[in-house]
């Protein structure tokens, strides 16, 4: 057995030589290794043993059991139930047991561990220990278990350790102080003089100084003169050093210090090793925020990194690319990313098959280098990475209201492609509610893609037809891909369906679109998508059937009736849909259509002699539901700018006797006049808004839309766009150049061929038309050699002047939004949203796992030369605070003491010793207060009690909150009236402010007393 010496002579937990019944940690681990396959059962039995062993009276058994629990905790078995035993072992007299206790506390205590407050005295005692190894136990453990109240009561014990003779202790103390200050900023104020002393001490161990600087660097802003001194040697190092890592550190130092003055030699970092690639990217990332032009010079290297095999490097490079994207490089950057995505997407092989067939005719136009380039290695990309990349592409493209996009046709193609690439969530996961975050993200990202397409359709009128056709394509493709058994889960469907419905007149074939949507409806699971699609179906129907120009012939009558029957049939299934939005729309539409069907059936078709109009319900009523003003995009947050009219009180009931009024309304028939007014307002366009209907003049000028892309770009695009998209583009191109004399179309349509054939037929085979010499015509600079199909590529890229509609908003008070630069995506920086009230919630939301929040320290100022008024106020507050805190502390200690006593009674004197030692010097005060509190709390008699003290007690009780108060059943105990010397610095400055507060407290107290 272990000796009684507190010295760590026998810190060997695996005491194999000692025969006993309990398992040692060594036995446990060996047992684990011997129970391969049945570890679970073994661990359960071990946990059971530990549970009984830890209650043992033998401290050794207890400590061993705790050590075993710690080991099992590491393997994932909760030990929070043992927190009281942890405390017992922490209080052990023997170092090696104590150490186990502290380890267990560090590993298992949570902020809600209620025994924590009982540890205060123990920690105080251990902090005051003479042996450095014991002393460093609480110092090392405090950062893990610290709470504001704990740091407040331990601050005074920790501070003297800043001058300990061991440098290791001093260093650890500095760090622990920092962590205390993070939860209790006042600690820093008290500790600051001592820390400064350490910093100034010329004999101080440099590593201690380093620790201080390291920890408190954020609080001591660099002296500007120092910056100027540092820069030359640093740049010198950067130029001369052979060590890459040192180079990086120097550059990083410059960046972090914000001292990037002259553009130092950054090209040095082009030689990149795999690790340094990463750190260089990190550094670039920091520079890009302030000096984007420097980074732009390194574009090639960075783009290389995007294709790296290493995902970490890729992500960093992407971060960077996002910051440096411009209208010049957007297409190439997005192209790279698209290729990457397509190579990794599951449909890649399938597409590459027919790729080769379809493209054979186009081969001549394609840059040979591109073709010979080996196919990207097929790396399966993790789904979240794919989603991330798609998100970034969308963000890059939509930045600043599409400022970077010159070619919207290209963008629409990219979006179409993205819809196909985007990962779709597996169906079974969506059905159950426990959809993982990935599948949720997948649904979100495809909806975002669809939203982009919708935004383009709404905002960029010039390409609206193209966008609508793309939406049409997506829908028809989805119809083919899905079936009843394979539900349509693509989130893009919702916005795409909206586009198709809203701009039905621009569709290539509205009938097909309607049919496709009808087919899709039963396969949609997500009710929100379903609601949108229902709406789209009716809009399409209104467009298809509602034309009042076509005469009401028998054919039309039967056609419309059939169509209506089909639509009703499809929509009727949703009449009892559980999702209200869907149900309501379905019911409305079905009823409306049934009415219309009746009307249509009743209207006899017009014959040769008798002209009949189609039913008005069909041609007027239904289309008018959807043909109001054109919809424009509205800036996010524009709602906030709607001024609240004077005298509007939203809390006021609309009418004092609403039910009666409603009952009256049932039997009342109102004249329809007001409705007409409304209709007139809604449907008649005021002349000012006529811009919305007319296209920008510039678009009408050019007969054919100007083509902006180069051939190189084409070749690149074809490597990531699907063959059908490419084929469509090719057809479009052909159409565009049909009348262009300089454009030689590919073989099949070659116009010269027939003539060639005719000539040959007429003149017999002996005439070789190709041998007739053709004079070389040199037309000078104006002529373009007709043999080259690249006249357009040679031109400087003309910017397609496309008007991107700005978001509509109301107020002019927010200039950045009024000017239309804000896109819906700039939500985060929206000034109306960063109000103080939301700021707090946002911060809370952003608190990440593992994060240690240091923002409390930001507000704390140690600067002595503040304005006098602020200082005075601060001191006053401080004084009040400290007084209150002292009271809180006293009460807390009382409660704690009481608790400890109870514990002692239960656990036979384990902590008794420590308790007595700590309370001795305050014996006298204790008695005094004990009596008082007893009287006050147990009997509720107030008369005898000194008013003020009692008031403070109440206040502090309140301040302390329920956290402390709940744990105790009795108010008896000792007080530690005197507070730490450090905390008394500025007390009792102003009393007048206090007095008012006391009066208030009086009331509160009486209220409390009467309970």
């Amino acid at each position: 057995m272990y000796g009684c010496s507190p010295l760590p002579t026998c810190a060997q937990p695996a005491d194999a030589g000692c025969p006993r019944f309990e398992k040692s940690l060594y036995d446990l681990i060996r047992g684990l290794r011997n129970h391969k396959g049945s570890e679970k059962e073994y661990i359960q039995s071990c946990l059971k043993e530990c549970r009984s062993e830890i209650r043992s009276q033998d401290m050794d058994v207890k400590a061993t059991a705790l050590l075993k629990l710690c080991y099992l905790e590491m393997l994932g078995h909760d030990m929070s139930w043992a927190s009281f035993h942890v405390l017992e072992v922490m209080a052990s007299q023997r170092y090696h047991q104590k150490r186990v206790g502290y380890l267990a506390a560090v590993q298992s205590f949570r902020s809600d561990t209620d025994v924590l407050m009982m540890a205060t005295n123990l920690l105080k005692k251990d902090l005051a220990a003479s042996l450095p190894i014991i002393m460093s136990l609480p110092i090392g453990a405090l950062p893990h278990i610290v709470t504001p109240s704990l740091s407040m009561s331990l601050l005074g014990d920790l501070l003297p350790r800043l001058t300990h003779s061991h440098s290791a202790i001093r260093k650890k103390t500095v760090v622990t102080l920092y962590r205390l200050a993070l939860v209790y900023p006042e600690a820093l104020r008290a500790a600051w003089p001592k820390i400064k002393e350490r910093l100034m001490d010329p004999d101080e161990d440099p590593s201690v100084t380093a620790a201080i600087v390291n920890v408190f660097a954020t609080l001591t802003p660099l002296e500007p003169r120092l910056v100027r001194k540092l820069l030359p040697p640093l740049t010198n190092l950067i130029r001369t050093t052979p060590a890459m890592s040192l180079l990086y550190e120097c550059i990083n130092g410059i960046i972090q210090g914000g001292i990037l003055g002259d553009a130092s030699d950054f090209s040095a970092r082009e030689e990149i090793a795999s690790l340094l690639k990463y750190v260089a990217l990190l550094a670039f990332n920091k520079i890009v925020a302030t000096h984007p032009f420097l980074v732009a010079e390194q574009e090639d290297v960075i783009l290389e990194c995007i294709d790296s095999e290493d995902i970490t490097i890729r992500i960093k490079a992407l971060d960077l690319v996002q910051g440096m994207v411009s209208s010049d490089n957007l297409i190439s950057i997005v192209g790279r990313l698209m290729r990457q995505l397509k190579a990794a997407s599951p449909s890649a092989e399938l597409n590459s098959l027919d790729d080769s067939e379809q493209d054979s005719s186009d081969e001549a136009n394609v840059d040979p280098k591109r073709r010979s380039k080996p196919q990207e290695p097929l790396i399966p990309l993790p789904e979240d990475y794919t989603i991330d990349v798609i998100g970034r592409i969308l963000k890059m493209c939509s930045q600043n209201n599409y400022a970077n996009i010159v070619d919207f046709d290209w963008y629409i193609d990219v979006l179409t492609q993205l819809v196909r690439i985007a990962p779709t969530p597996p169906p079974q996961e969506v059905e159950s509610d426990s959809a993982t975050s990935i599948s949720k993200l997948a649904a979100e990202i495809s909806e975002r893609i669809g939203n982009e397409l919708r935004n383009v359709a709404v905002k960029v009128k010039a390409v609206r037809p193209a966008a609508v056709r793309a939406a049409e394509l997506i829908i028809s493709r989805l119809t083919i891909e899905t079936s009843i058994t394979r539900p349509a889960l693509n989130g893009a469907l919702k916005p795409v369906a909206w586009v198709v419905g809203e701009y039905a007149s621009l569709l290539a074939s509205a009938d097909d679109a309607l049919r496709n949507l009808q087919d899709l409806l039963p396969r949609i699971r997500d009710p929100e998508i379903l609601a949108t699609c229902l709406q789209a179906v009716l809009k399409l129907f209104a467009y298809v059937a509602g034309n009042d120009q076509i005469p009401w012939t028998p054919e039309r009558k039967s056609m419309v009736s059939l169509l209506m029957a089909r639509v009703i049939h499809v929509i009727e299934k949703f009449v009892s849909h559980p999702y209200l939005e869907v149900q309501e729309r379905a019911v409305e539409f079905v009823e409306l259509l049934k009415l219309t069907a009746e009307a249509a059936a009743g209207q006899t078709p017009s014959t040769a002699e008798l002209h009949q109009d189609p039913p008005l319900l069909l041609t007027q009523a239904i289309p008018s539901l959807f043909a109001g003003w054109e919809l424009n995009s509205v800036a996010q947050g524009a709602q906030y700018n709607v001024p609240i009219p004077d005298g509007l009180d939203l809390d006021e009931p609309i009418h004092p006797d609403l039910p009666r009024l409603l009952a009256q309304a049932d039997s009342l028939s109102l004249p329809d006049q007001s409705e007409d007014e409304f209709a007139a307002y809604y449907h008649q366009k005021p002349p000012i808004t006529s811009i919305s209907s007319t296209e920008p003049a510039i678009n009408k000028l050019g007969e054919a839309p100007e083509y902006t892309g180069s051939y190189q770009q084409h070749a690149a695009e074809e490597s990531y766009l699907d063959p059908d998209t490419i084929a469509r583009r090719k057809a479009e191109r052909m159409e565009r150049y049909r009348d262009d004399p300089f454009y030689i179309p590919p073989e099949p349509i070659r116009s010269s061929t027939p003539i060639h054939n005719i000539l040959q037929k007429e003149n017999g085979p002996d005439l070789d038309i190709d041998s007739i010499p053709i004079m070389q015509l040199d037309l000078g600079p104006t002529g373009t050699p007709s043999s080259t199909p690249k006249p357009i590529a040679a031109k400087p890229k003309p910017r397609q002047r496309i008007v991107v509609a700005a978001d509509e908003t109301l107020s002019t008070s927010l200039p950045n939004r009024a000017s239309g630069t804000s896109t819906p995506r700039s939500y985060d920086s929206d000034p109306t949203l960063s109000r103080p009230s939301t700021a707090a919630t946002r911060k809370a939301k952003q608190q990440s796992l593992l994060q240690v929040d240091s923002s409390h320290l930001e507000s704390l100022s140690l600067d002595a030369s503040e304005s006098a008024a602020a200082l005075e106020r601060q001191q006053r507050e401080e004084a009040e605070m400290q007084q209150a805190l002292r009271e809180v502390q006293r009460l807390r200690l009382e409660m704690q003491r009481a608790n400890e006593r109870i514990m002692v009674a239960q656990a036979k004197g384990v902590t008794a010793e420590g308790v007595v030692v700590a309370s001795k010097p305050k014996k006298k005060k204790k008695d005094d207060k004990e009596k008082r509190v007893k009287v006050g709390e147990s009997e509720g008699v107030e008369g005898k009690v000194k008013k003020k003290k009692k008031k403070k007690a109440v206040e502090s009780q309140k301040a302390e909150g329920s956290g402390t108060g709940s744990g105790t059943g009795s108010g008896t105990g000792t007080g530690e009236g005197a507070s730490e010397p450090a905390a008394v610095g500025v007390v009792k400055k102003k009393r007048s402010g206090k007095a008012k507060r006391l009066v208030q407290l009086d009331d509160r107290e009486e209220a409390g007393g009467s309970q």
Binding site: P8, A11, Q12, P13, A14, A16, Y26, I29, R33, L67, C70, E73, M74, L75, G76, D78, Y95, R99, F109, R110, P132, G140, L142, P143, H144, A168, K171, V175, T176, Y178, R179, S207, A211, N214, S245, Y248, E249, N252, A273, S274, L275, K277, Y278, A289, E309, D310, I311, T312, D384, Y385, D828, Q846, S848, L849, L850, Q851, V852, D853, S854, S855
Partner: protein, 193 residues
């Protein structure tokens, strides 16, 4: 600031877990397994930094410029059968973290005299003690090898690996040699160069 220091082996079994914030046991385990999945899927020749595991991924609408306190860097090194992981904020120097892991392993090597995974399994208390000499509350306080070793030794004798648990058995052996190789390269070594 360093947010966590983890050691686990090639099968994902933890050998040391140290979190500098309070976390539930279940979340700790999830984080470990997420990081293990990331680390075990690294192609050869990758750099020593991992993408953020899903648990630590920032919320979609987070503003990256706002805080320096968010853990955003996962550094790892691989020694024979073991992975050493450091999760830290972006304010830590990545190269210094790689060096820190190296120092830690070298310190263990000195303490156990040719350390192997088995030593770590049976002496996890010493692992904690060594780490406690180097990092306090998430801040690096010591990187001097001699002082670290002296600090740990002052706390008591370091147990040797059990005699009857031979080197050949189980996951033992091997990683000391990797350390030895590292020693020869002046402490500024990383794999995958």
């Amino acid at each position: 600031m360093i947010n966590a220091f983890l050691v686990f082996n090639g099968q994902g079994q933890p050998r040391l877990t140290k979190f500098y914030t309070q976390l539930d046991t279940q979340i700790k385990q999830r984080l470990i397994s997420e990081i293990f999945t990331l680390v075990s899927n690294r192609p050869p020749g990758s750099c020593n930094f991992l993408p953020l595991p899903p648990l630590l991924a920032p919320p979609a609408n987070a503003d990256p410029q706002q805080h320096n306190d968010v853990p955003s860097l996962v550094t790892y090194r691989h020694y024979a059968t073991l992975y050493f992981i450091v999760i830290s904020t972006s304010t830590e120097s990545p190269l210094a973290l790689i060096d820190l892991i190296q120092v830690y392993v070298e310190a263990l090597d000195r303490l156990f005299e040719n350390v192997c995974e088995l030593d770590l399994i049976f002496n996890f208390e010493t692992l904690h003690a060594t780490l406690g000499e180097m990092i306090v509350g998430g801040v690096v306080v010591e990187t001097n090898l001699d002082r670290i070793v002296a600090g740990v030794k002052a706390q008591g004798t370091v147990a040797k690996r059990p005699v009857n648990e031979g080197r050949g058995s189980g996951g033992a052996g091997g990683f000391a040699s990797a350390v030895g190789a590292g020693l020869g390269m002046g402490g500024m070594v990383w794999h995958g160069r």
